[in-house]
Structures are given as structure tokens and as C-alpha cells.
């Protein structure tokens, strides 16, 4: 006597992203804190010294937030126009910012009024930064020039007029006080040495450069512009290393995370992508509500701060392991199973005679009913609310099993309004799912056959049936459009591929493989 074989629930390939170490790491953040700023957040900069305050440049203000505060700890408002690029010095004492009115202001973090004003640019200054010796300031402006200033006497040291368009990004070397790099809308990146008259290296990005980032070792430079993120090897004389095209709108900001092992890029397409810096593959992706202008990570990835065009600042703090452990320990305190099993640890002596109890096979509720041939009850059991919501494949598996047994009609018949509406609800929810469509279509046809005589008696059921009809019609239209597109693609492939001896095979290959293998994909026509 063989034992009852439980209903086979097919395992469908998991759609969507896979769980990896990276997703676990980057998902381990609390719900974001959202702060409304006065305008689009154009720049965020973390103070290099603890407690790592960060300066947020938005419209004509710079707010400085503490690591956990949701209110600014400090505000700089002495700008005549939109402020740009508020940056901390490496000791966290001074802050520099450009402005639309071409004046660069230097603030003491504790003060309110600007300590120095650097005047000389003729247009808006979008780039400001301190050099690594802390005594000079780099600025880049829309007047196509970049300049070095001396802080103590607010004097201009040198001017470089090499770019032919707006300079919108620039970084200074943290290791060498004379080196700095600027990126411009003329598509070029230029490396300058303060000791030389001219730029020492020029690289062509191909798109207007929006953001620059130097690796901590300063051997590699990352530039973002257009939809591309490019990595350059400075030690090999500016040779392009890799070009990434993972965004579908302009990339606006770059940041390094995870001790320089991950690169983050933010874009106007509302995504932040995380790359592995060894393989340059996207390992994680964050979605935001609006186009992102600025992005910064606190040291050790304690928080991710993102500024968006809709003037929202989003701050995500990292969850700490102690907190999660606390939750675990709380769960563990509950009475556990082992308390109730007596003699669980009993070890029989070698000469004991063991009486083995037959292991009782556990069957799911629907299987128990199926074993007794109670088809309606089995269907009821599989339509339990959490089952059909969380695991529709089980419900579909039971419907399939009933169909195989030839008793699906019996199971579907004889239901009252409430049960029928449940059933229709499930059908409506899953009929367009390609994994379930064939069997659910059969079931839907049966339901219509059985209950067509009572249509019109219940407003609820009629409404659901109308919804079903609408869904099917829209699905048919979609399929038609898809087939049209497929036809177009086929013609394109046929013309683009050089004619070989067997043209058919090439077409077949492009079709069959483009659909992600025939391994489990149903043909799309099934739903019609």
C-alpha cells in the first residue's frame, strides 16, 4: 500500500531580484526621514570629523544637520541668490560655498557671517573645494574658468581658462595639495597641477560632465555625465577603464560606499545604483520619489542622504545589529517547543528493544480533503485568504489537481454568493499571470458555464464578471500589440543579420533565446 502522494505544487522561478549579501547590506536601513527644504537640494557634504554633520545646499541656504537630528543644527542664509556646493574643510572647521552671484563665501562652522568673500568670477560658481593643504580654495564657474584662491588674504592665486563650457564639477586631490580635477559641460575632464601653467591631462567623457569622484587611492577617477558613468585610470595617463550605462537619464551624483568597495550613482531617473568596484556590476538599486540631484554617504555607510528636485531631503539611517538581536532575543523568550516534548534527549541503551512508531505523514489541509475525495472542501481549503494571497501557486496547484481528476466542475459548482465572489476575486487577480493563465482560464470557463443561469441575480457577482471581461479585453489588446512589436523585431533581425545558408535558424535563435529561454516561459498567446 503506497502512501498518498501530496499535490505537487510547481516551483516557479523566482522573479525579481535575488537575495545576495549586497541586497541584505543595502536593505539594512531604517525607513527614511524626509525633510522638506526650500528648494532643490543641489549638494550634500559630510563633515570629515565626528560627529559627521552634513551640509545640505538647497536654494539660497545651507543647512547643517547633525547625525540624528531632523532639525538643522546650523543654518547659513547670507546668500544673495542660489547657493551651490557647500563643502567642509578636512578639519570640519570651515565651510565654503559658491553662489549664483559669482561670489564665493567662506564660513566658520560656528559663525554666521562669511569670514571671507572671494570675488573675481563673472558668473555663477558651481564648484568649490578646499585643497589638501587647507589653505587654498578651488572654484569652478560658469564663466569657463577655474581658479585657486588663498584663504588668509582672499587673493586669487591662479586662473585656468582651458574649458570651453560651464564647469560644473571638480575635486581636489586629498594626497597632493597641488592636484585638482575639473569636469565641464564641454565633455572633458582636465587634471591640473597648481605648479604648472596648463592642464596636465585631458580626458574626453563624451557627455557634459556632471560629477567627479576620486578613489581614496587616487589612482582611479570616476566621472558621470549623460547616462554614462566612466572610470578612468589616472596612473595609465587617463586611459578609460570601464563605461557603465545603467541609468536611463542623466547621472547627477557619485559616491563611494562600503570602504570604497561599492560605487553609488544617483540619477534623474530617480534611482540610486550600487556597483561592485571590482566587477562594475550593479548589485543593488534604490528607488526614490523624484529625480535625484545629490547623494552622500556618511562614513561607514551609517546613513544615506539623498536630495531631490522636489526639494525633499531623504535620510536613511543604518539599522544596527544590536537592535535586530534584541528583537531576536525577545522572540526566543517565548515558550518553545522543546519544553513540551518529554524524553527528547533520551538515548536508548545498546540492549534496549526499540519499538518504532510509524511516522505519521503530515498532509496539508487541502491534501487531506483530496485524499478523502472531498473536492469542494479541498478547493475551499486552498482558497483560504492567506493561501490565495501569499501563495497563489498552491491554490492553482489544487485547481490543476482537481482538473486532472476530472472533478473541477463538481468542486466549482454549488457555491453561494460569498464563496463565488471569493472564487471570482482569485480568478480576476491571477488570470493574466502567465504562469497560471492556462488552468485559470479553464476554471473561469467552467464558472461561467455553471453560473450563467444565475447572472443578474447578484450585483456583486455581476460587477466582478464585468471586471473579468474588461481585464480579458485589455489583455487581448496588449497581446496583439506585443505580437505586432515582435513581428517588427523579426523583420529587423531578418534584415540586419547577414544571410547565411539557413536563415531560418538565425531567426529562431534570436526569438527563442531573447525570451529568456523556453525553460519555463509559456507562449504569450496562451492568455488570449
Amino acid at each position: 500500500m503506497a502512501s498518498f502522494k501530496p499535490t505537487k505544487i510547481p516551483v516557479y522561478p523566482k522573479l525579481g531580484e535575488k537575495v545576495t549579501q549586497d541586497t541584505l547590506y543595502w536593505k539594512n536601513y531604517k525607513a527614511p526621514v524626509q525633510i522638506k527644504e526650500y528648494g532643490a537640494v543641489s549638494n550634500i557634504d559630510f563633515s570629515p570629523v565626528a560627529p559627521h554633520n552634513f551640509a545640505v545646499t538647497a536654494f539660497s541656504r545651507i543647512h547643517v544637520y547633525g547625525p540624528f537630528s531632523q532639525e538643522p543644527v546650523k543654518t547659513f542664509t547670507r546668500f544673495k541668490d542660489t547657493a551651490y556646493c557647500g563643502r567642509f574643510r578636512s578639519d570640519g572647521q570651515l565651510l565654503v560655498a559658491g553662489c549664483e552671484d559669482s561670489v564665493v563665501r567662506l564660513f566658520d562652522v560656528s559663525g554666521r557671517v562669511a569670514l571671507r568673500m572671494f570675488k573675481g568670477h563673472t558668473k555663477a560658481v558651481h564648484v568649490t573645494d578646499f585643497t589638501s593643504d587647507r589653505y587654498q580654495i578651488l572654484t569652478g564657474s560658469d564663466d569657463y574658468t577655474c581658479r585657486l584662491w588663498d584663504i588668509p588674504n582672499a587673493a586669487e592665486l591662479s586662473t585656468y581658462r582651458e574649458h570651453t563650457d560651464y564647469i560644473r564639477c571638480g575635486v581636489t586631490s586629498k594626497l597632493n595639495r597641488d592636484l585638482f580635477i575639473t569636469g565641464s559641460y564641454d565633455h572633458t575632464l582636465k587634471v591640473f597641477d597648481a605648479r604648472a601653467e596648463k592642464s596636465v591631462m585631458t580626458m574626453d567623457h563624451g557627455q557634459p560632465v556632471e560629477s567627479l569622484l576620486l578613489y581614496p587611492s587616487e589612482g582611479l577617477l570616476v566621472s558621470a555625465g549623460g547616462r554614462y558613468v566612466k572610470v578612468w585610470d589616472l596612473l595609465k595617463g587617463g586611459q578609460p577603464l570601464v563605461s557603465l550605462k545603467n541609468h536611463h537619464k542623466t547621472v547627477t551624483c557619485l559616491a563611494l560606499g562600503n570602504n570604497g568597495e561599492r560605487l553609488l550613482s544617483a540619477s534623474l531617473d530617480r534611482h540610486v545604483k550600487v556597483y561592485n568596484t571590482t566587477t562594475y556590476k550593479v548589485v543593488h538599486n534604490f528607488d526614490y520619489a523624484a529625480a535625484i540631484l545629490s547623494l552622500a554617504l556618511a562614513p561607514d555607510d551609517e546613513s544615506i542622504v539623498v536630495g531631490m528636485t522636489n526639494s525633499i531631503l531623504s535620510i536613511k539611517h543604518r539599522k544596527h545589529t544590536e537592535e535586530s538581536k534584541e528583537i531576536m532575543s525577545q522572540q526566543r523568550r517565548r515558550p518553545s517547543y522543546r519544553v513540551f516534548v518529554k524524553g527528547k534527549n533520551f538515548v536508548p541503551k545498546p540492549d534496549d528493544y526499540l519499538v518504532s512508531k510509524p511516522v505519521k505523514e503530515h498532509l496539508a489541509k487541502y491534501d487531506r480533503e483530496l485524499k478523502k475525495f472531498n473536492v469542494s472542501k479541498a478547493l475551499d481549503a486552498s482558497l483560504e485568504i492567506w493561501l490565495r494571497k501569499k501563495k497563489p501557486e498552491i491554490t492553482v496547484g489544487v485547481i490543476k489537481e482537481l482538473d486532472r481528476r476530472g472533478t473541477l466542475k463538481n468542486a466549482l459548482a454549488g457555491r453561494d454568493e460569498e464563496q463565488l465572489s471569493q472564487l471570482l476575486h482569485f480568478v480576476i487577480g491571477n488570470i493574466v499571470d502567465t504562469r497560471f493563465a492556462p488552468i485559470i482560464l479553464t476554471a473561469a470557463e467552467m464558472i461561467l458555464d455553471i453560473y450563467k443561469s444565475v447572472i443578474g441575480q447578484s450585483a456583486l457577482i455581476d460587477q466582478q464578471l464585468l471586471r473579468l471581461q474588461n481585464i480579458l479585453e485589455s489583455e487581448i489588446n496588449l497581446e496583439q500589440e506585443l505580437l505586432e512589436v515582435l513581428g517588427m523585431l523579426d523583420t529587423m533581425f531578418a534584415t540586419s543579420v547577414t544571410r547565411k545558408e539557413v536563415p531560418y535558424s538565425d531567426v529562431g535563435r534570436s526569438n527563442g533565446l531573447a525570451q529568456g529561454e523556453a525553460s519555463s516561459s509559456r507562449p504569450e498567446l496562451q492568455a488570449t
Partner: protein, 823 residues
């Protein structure tokens, strides 16, 4: 012809053991069942076949224990004889010649010396109308007995043997045919007939299917086609008869049986549930569900402790008191049709084909035993007629037996056909196949062929499947997309077609460097390494039915058969047709171990076999009319030991053996005369050796005996007193080795006896040694014991020389042991 005499077509096991109701011996130790032309005796404990009673020349149609002697059994056969056997020793006692083909046999304890047989009524050719005859068996001596004392009891008996039953103490016999129940009382010589309506009100059929009589009460149970069981009483009156209806079965009741005390009624049918009804309290039932396949017969042992049910999948299940399945005797499962190709598992050398619904069976050809069933579909099988279930339609094994691919289908003809391609990996620890990948709907329409690359090993395995959707797909073992996903699985590697034609067959060359796919009239040859189309061949018109590459020295040839009855051979080096001949080949296959090919040709309702080399014009072997009908399944099974045949005509059988399935699902093979002679001598040797198997253990003990005898037959050196006592030990050993394993007591109980028996000989010289050293003490201690054992205790004292000689002999005696140990 010489060839026909040399090579014979022989039945190779796998016969049906559930054709007729089995019989259980009165001590419940043996089970007798009709199996083809023989009667097989199985042990109910070990499930082994202990005896095979050979003698009938036609199908055995019934087995019955002799009521007056529980160690004897009758068997009847379509060859017109009834034979009486001693089934424990396998001896034919008597043969009664009846002269008519016998359909079934019955006996009753109260009718001594009379058996009842059902034979076709004279004048009628068909088996529709039978008559029940009483045969008085003459008490004459001699093996062959002619019987002439026949008397008709009932006419108009159904051909189904379950429709006749003998009532309480043999007072009456009940028989059903169609919708009629007929009861004949022997004492009153009176018969009653009761009829049911053709159809009951619900439109179900009332036809009787089986009948059983209560052993102590006047009650007849009948089973019906609509699943009802009727219990008839008062049937000795014309009008006042009554019946009661029991209804549990939802389809035909196939078997009914009362237990010997009459306390229970057993019934079974298509549902494969054994139902036990309490007699007089029929509302109480016990069920034994999921027995595997439709129940066809039920038998109960005379003491009522053991039930056995025969099933339609060639299986007999032994059940202990309706609760526990104690053992299962399983023959080769034969469905209505074998849909998979025959294959040979390279590991177990077992024949692989589909058996039970949704299963693949592995059948050992050498031992004629089912090794195991692989559950491919893994779904609960619903025993209901007319239900469309998943069926295994295709299976293929790769060259090393590491991978198995199966295709299962449901609703084959409709639009929403369900298709699954499953790939199974051989699991070393559990020694069975484990599911690796399931591909649902690998092709949109039915799959026409699947095949593995025979040469590829391990990670490079390649599977090609062809579908009616005009595509063929190559599947490869690929590492998982992500390391957390577990082991490697199979993914589609390449998809292609040829001008939208339907691929029918595909075939790999022996080294796996070429793939031939037959697209209707066109044969395309591809390179699996680059998936380039190398060449197309389409010389003679006609749809390609079979494709086969030549092997070894003929590997440059590609052979194909077409629907226009052509057998073509292409030379792949010149890309031209080498030769073609017109014959209707139903099956073409290549021997994997030689360059021979076999073609089964269907001609005038018969199948002819040709064995040929593609490079030679003359066939190596041909035989006309191998069997009737069209042979569509065959396989070359490699031999374990190659034959050393020198005759040209039978050389093709040296390396491998050809098995084929006839349309009637008989498994046949070809055997040479030399092989048969070898088998005969082997079996003779076996008889001489007291049927002890040639095991290392037997060599150890079997060699001992001659030495022993040599020592005994050495009278010159051995004083008569030294003749070893015919020890109790060796008798025990012989008994131990000769009796079948299943009748022996527990090994723990035997151990001490056995060890003593073995220790007996070595202990002798030690005794002698001790005797030698201190004679006075030992002689006194041992002599009286000897005296007890032997009749003449006169024991002369040994001289020194004699003792020395004796030692030498003893040393000789031991050399065999050391040599055995060394070897």
C-alpha cells in the same frame, strides 16, 4: 535452413503472473500462479520464485490446490491436459488428457476424485459459450492418463473464470453469464435461473462480473459492472428469492471472495481498494486503499490469515489479515502499450521501459526480476476509468547512465496539452535517479524525439529534443545563475528549425560530433560544437521515419528509413547515397558494441529480421516471420560475458543480445544453440551439485569433501579406528546449505551449530597432538566418548610411524585451506 536451427527466438521472462487467480498453499508458505506456459511457485515470505512447474505446452489457464492432498496442485491448460503436481518438490505426478482446450478449473472438497473444468461447447468455435464439465479422474497408475468420464454440469458458462463458484460443502454451483445467475443443485439435480434487467433505472449496467459463495451459509455474493454487490438468499425457490445490494465501488467489481470461515467478504475492482465487508453487518467495512493498480483476483489462504490480490499491473500483493501488506511479487509491468523506447541502463544492465502509469520500470533481464520503479510523474494516481492521466511517453539515458531524461504528457491530442521534460541525475548514495530539472512545456506541441549525446560525459552532457512545433532544442547542463541557487540545472542552449518542417527523428553519431535531424523528407546534419548546419540530404522522397548512424568501422554511414518503404544508406564522406533498398522497415537500430545493425521489416502481417553491416551487401543474418504483427520496440543489450561463437551466422550475438517486444507485449530474444547448450549443462551441473550456488562459501566447503574422502580412502596409512566419524557437523552443514534460505531459522540460532560443524575437523589433529604429548591423560578422556559414538570401540594403540604418517596426511589436508586463503 542452418541459420534457423542455429538461432532461435525464445521467450525471455516477464510473463504475466496475474492471468488467473493464484492459489495459496494450506500452510500459507507458498503461492502458486499460472505464468505463461508454466506454473510458478513463490515463497510468500521471501517473494522468491522457488519452483517453476514446466510441462504444459500451451497457456496455463488455472491452478488449484488438490482438496484431498494439500501438497498437490492441479493445473489446467489450453493444451487440453490437467496436470497434478507436487509443488514443493516440483514433480509432475500425473497428466490427465482431456482433449479439449480448458478455460478454467474448479474443485470442491465434497466431490472426491472429481474436478470441474470449463471447456468450449462443441460446435462453437469462439470462447463466448463454455460448458462446465465434471471430470472423474481415473485412479489408474502411470503418468499419462486418458480421461473419458466426462459429464456436463452446466452449459452457457461465461469465459471469465470468476463467474463460477461452488457453494456450501459443494452442494450447488453458481454460475453467471450476462445478466443471468444460474444455480445447479447436485443432490436434487435441479437448476434455477434468475435474471436481472439489462439496465437498472439509473442507466448503469447490471451485468454480473463475478460470483462467490458463502462457505457455511446459503448465500451467494455477486459483483456487477455498475459497482454493486448483491447478496442472494433463498435461491432454492423460484419466486421467493431475495437479494440485498451493497454499493461502495464506483466502477466494476472485478473480484469477490469469502474468507474461509465466512465472516468477511472481500471485494476489489478498478479503484484498487480492497474492501472487507463484515458478513451480516455489511454496513461495517474495512478498506485497504492505494494498492497500486486495479484488482483482478482475490485469493485467501485456507487458514484465512493471508490474502492475496492480483493486480492488472502484473503484481501480486500479499496482505496479512487485511491490514498490512506483507510482500509484493512483481512481474514485468506491461501496459496497454509501451510508449517509451526500450533502453538498457548502463549501470544496472536493466531493461528500462514504462510500466505502471507514470512510472519507469527497471527490469533485470538476467534475473527476470523487477528491480525498481521510478516514479516519474509524482502525482497521486486516480483509479478511475476514462480519466486522462499523465503518461511517460519518452525516456532516454545518456551513455554513462548518469542522466535520465523523461517526457510526460497529458491530454495528448487536445490544444491544452501538458508537457513536462524532466531530467534526472543518478545519485550514488541512494543508487537511484533524483529529479534535477523540470521543464514545463519544453515545446509548444508534442515532442517527437529526445536523445542524449552518447559521447559526452559529466558537465558537457547534451540533450536534444524535437517537437511538432518545428523546432529542435539543445539542452545543456549549466551552472546556476547565482551561487545560492544550488546545483547545476539544465537550460536551453540552442533552438533551431529547418524551413518550418517538423523534425521527426534525431540521432547522434557515436562520438557525438554529428547530429542528424530528420525534418520530414530532409535529413539535416549539424555540428553540436558550433551548431552549424553541415549538410542536408534528401535523396529519395518520403518522410524520414528512422535515423541511425553506423558504429565503429561503419561510422561514416548514416542510415535512414522512409515512409515510402526505403532503407537508405548515405556516405557522409562523399555526401551521397551509398545504397538504398526497398523494404518496409518498422524499426532500425544499431548495436552499440559492434558495427552491426538490425532492421525489423514488416511484411504480410509478419515481421522479418535482418542483421547487416552497412558496408557489406549481404546481410549477416536474416530470419523470416520472427513474430506476427509489427515490431516497434527492440534493444541491443550488452552481454556481461562475450560469447565465443565461431559460426558466422551467430557472430552478431557475441557481444550483445537483441531483445524485442511483440505487439502482444511479449519480450522475446534470440539465443544461439551454443548458448542454450551451455545453459543446459550449467543447469545439469547445478542438479549434480545438489543445487548449491557457486559461491565462495561453497567453494570453501565443497572442496573439503573430496579431500575428506581422499583421506578416508587411504586405508594403508589410516587405521580403521581413525576413520572420521560421519560427524553430525557435516550433516548439519549440508542441511544448512541445501534447504532454502527462507525456511531456515534465524541466523543467530544457526550460528553455534554451524561453527561447531566447521570446527570439527581442525579439532581432530589437535586432539592427536595432545594425545601425542601426554597419552595417558588424553586417551582416558577421549576414548569413552569415542566409544559412545562408534560401534566398534576396539582401539589399537598407534605406532610412532603411523602417527607420523597421519600427521603428514593432516598437513596435506590443510594445504587446500591455506591455498584458498592465499588466493
Amino acid at each position: 535452413m542452418v541459420e534457423q536451427a542455429e538461432i532461435r527466438v525464445v521467450h525471455q521472462g516477464g510473463s504475466n503472473i496475474t492471468f488467473r487467480e493464484p492459489a495459496i498453499s494450506s500452510d500459507s508458505r507458498f503461492l502458486l500462479c499460472a505464468s505463461g506456459h508454466n506454473v510458478k511457485v513463490f515463497s510468500t515470505v521471501t517473494e522468491e520464485c522457488v519452483q517453476e512447474l514446466r510441462g504444459h505446452t500451451d497457456l496455463v489457464t488455472g491452478v488449484l490446490l488438490r482438496p484431498s492432498n494439500h501438497l498437490q496442485a492441479y493445473s489446467c491448460s489450453a493444451d487440453g491436459t490437467v496436470r497434478l503436481w507436487d509443488f514443493t518438490d516440483g514433480i509432475l505426478i500425473k497428466t490427465y488428457v482431456i482433449g479439449y482446450p480448458i478455460c478454467s478449473i474448479y474443485a470442491s472438497a465434497s466431490h472426491d476424485g472429481v474436478i470441474f473444468i470449463a471447456t468450449p461447447t462443441k460446435g462453437y468455435k469462439t470462447l463466448d459459450s463454455l460448458q462446465l464439465l465434471a471430470v472423474h479422474l481415473p485412479q489408474t497408475a502411470g503418468q499419462l492418463v486418458e480421461t473419458s468420464d466426462l459429464s456436463a454440469v452446466l452449459s452457457d458458462v461465461s469465459a471469465n473464470p470468476a463467474t463460477v463458484a461452488f457453494g456450501r460443502a459443494g452442494e450447488y454451483v453458481a454460475s453467471t453469464n450476462g445478466v443471468q445467475l444460474q444455480i445447479f443443485f447436485f443432490k436434487k439435480q435441479k437448476s434455477f435461473r434468475f435474471s436481472l434487467k439489462e439496465n437498472s433505472c439509473s442507466g448503469r449496467r447490471n451485468t454480473f462480473t463475478c460470483v462467490a459463495c458463502h462457505p457455511t451459509d446459503d448465500c451467494i455474493a455477486t459483483g456487477h459492472e455498475d459497482g454493486k454487490i448483491r447478496l442472494w438468499r433463498n435461491f432454492d425457490q423460484k419466486r421467493e428469492y431475495t437479494y440485498r445490494t451493497l454499493h461502495w465501488h464506483h466502477s466494476t467489481v472485478r473480484a469477490l471472495c469469502f474468507t474461509p470461515e465466512g465472516s468477511n467478504l472481500l471485494s476489489g475492482g478498478v479503484e484498487s481498494v480492497l474492501v472487507q465487508w463484515r458478513y451480516q453487518q455489511e454496513s461495517q467495512q474495512d478498506f485497504l486503499p492505494r494498492l497500486g493498480a486495479a484488482i483482478t483476483h482475490i485469493a485467501v489462504s485456507p487458514d484465512g490469515a493471508l490474502f492475496c490480490t492480483s493486480h492488472s499491473d502484473n503484481k501480486i500483493v500479499l496482505i496479512q489479515s487485511c491490514v498490512k501488506v506483507s510482500s509484493i511479487i512483481q512481474g514485468l509491468v506491461k501496459g496497454e502499450a509501451v510508449q517509451t523506447d526500450l533502453m538498457v541502463d548502463p549501470r544496472s544492465k536493466a531493461l528500462v521501459l514504462n510500466g505502471k502509469p507514470g512510472h519507469l520500470q527497471f527490469y533485470s533481464l538476467q534475473r527476470d526480476r523487477l528491480l525498481f520503479n521510478l516514479d516519474v510523474v509524482q502525482q497521486e494516481f486516480i483509479h478511475q476509468e476514462g480519466l486522462d492521466q499523465f503518461q511517460v511517453v519518452m525516456a532516454t539515458l545518456d551513455g554513462a547512465g548518469a542522466w535520465l531524461a523523461t517526457v510526460e504528457e497529458r491530454k495528448q491530442e487536445t490544444v491544452e496539452a501538458e508537457l513536462n521534460l524532466k531530467l534526472w541525475a543518478f545519485d550514488e548514495p541512494s543508487q537511484s535517479f533524483v529529479l534535477n530539472t523540470t521543464v514545463s512545456t519544453p515545446h509548444e506541441v508534442r515532442i517527437t524525439a529526445v536523445t542524449f549525446d552518447p559521447a559526452a560525459r559529466g558537465q558537457t552532457s547534451l540533450l536534444v529534443s524535437c517537437g511538432r512545433d518545428g523546432l529542435f532544442k539543445a539542452w545543456r547542463l549549466a551552472p546556476p545563475a547565482h551561487p545560492d541557487d544550488g546545483g547545476p540545472s539544465w537550460t536551453c542552449d540552442f533552438v533551431s528549425g529547418y524551413h518550418g518542417l517538423t523534425p521527426q527523428r534525431c540521432c547522434f553519431s557515436a562520438d557525438g560530433s554529428l547530429l542528424a535531424v530528420g525534418f520530414q523528407e530532409v535529413v539535416t546534419v549539424w555540428s553540436p560544437a558550433s551548431w552549424e548546419l553541415l549538410l542536408t540530404l534528401s535523396q529519395p522522397p518520403g518522410i524520414i521515419r528512422d535515423l541511425c548512424f553506423g558504429r565503429l568501422s561503419c561510422s561514416k554511414f548514416l542510415l535512414g528509413t522512409t515512409s515510402s518503404d526505403q532503407l537508405c544508406c548515405w556516405n557522409l564522406l562523399t555526401c551521397s547515397l551509398e545504397w538504398s533498398t526497398s523494404m518496409e522497415v518498422s524499426l532500425l537500430l544499431a548495436d552499440p558494441l559492434s558495427d552491426n545493425m538490425a532492421a525489423f521489416c514488416h511484411q504480410d502481417g509478419n515481421t522479418d529480421l535482418f542483421v547487416f553491416k552497412p558496408s557489406e551487401p549481404r546481410p549477416l543474418f536474416s530470419q523470416k516471420a520472427v513474430c506476427s504483427g509489427r515490431v516497434s520496440r527492440a534493444v541491443f543489450a550488452p552481454r556481461e560475458v562475450a560469447l565465443e561463437s565461431c559460426e558466422e551466422s551467430s557472430q552478431w550475438l557475441n557481444r550483445s543480445q537483441l531483445y524485442f517486444l511483440t505487439p502482444l507485449m511479449d519480450l522475446l530474444t534470440f539465443s544461439t544453440r551454443a548458448e542454450e547448450e551451455r545453459l543446459m549443462t550449467a543447469s545439469k551441473q547445478l542438479v549434480v551439485d545438489d543445487s548449491v550456488a557457486m559461491t565462495p562459501f561453497q567453494l570453501l566447503l565443497g572442496k573439503r569433501r573430496p579431500h575428506h574422502q581422499a583421506a578416508v580412502e587411504d586405508p594403508a596409512v589410516r587405521p580403521p579406528a581413525e576413520r572420521p566419524v560421519p560427524p553430525g557437523g557435516s550433516a548439519a552443514v549440508r542441511e544448512l546449505l541445501q534447504s532454502p534460505a527462507h525456511v531456515l531459522p534465524a541466523a543467530a540460532a544457526l550460528c553455534s551449530v554451524f561453527m561447531e560443524a566447521l570446527l570439527e575437523t581442525p579439532s581432530d589433529p589437535e586432539e592427536e597432538e595432545e594425545e601425542d604429548s601426554d597419552q595417558e591423560m588424553e586417551t582416558r578422556a577421549t576414548r569413552p566418548e569415542r566409544g559412545l559414538l562408534e560401534t566398534d570401540s576396539a582401539d589399537p594403540v598407534l605406532s610412532r610411524a603411523q602417527v607420523r604418517e597421519l600427521r603428514r596426511v593432516r598437513k596435506l589436508d590443510h594445504s587446500w585451506f591455506s591455498s584458498l586463503l592465499d588466493s
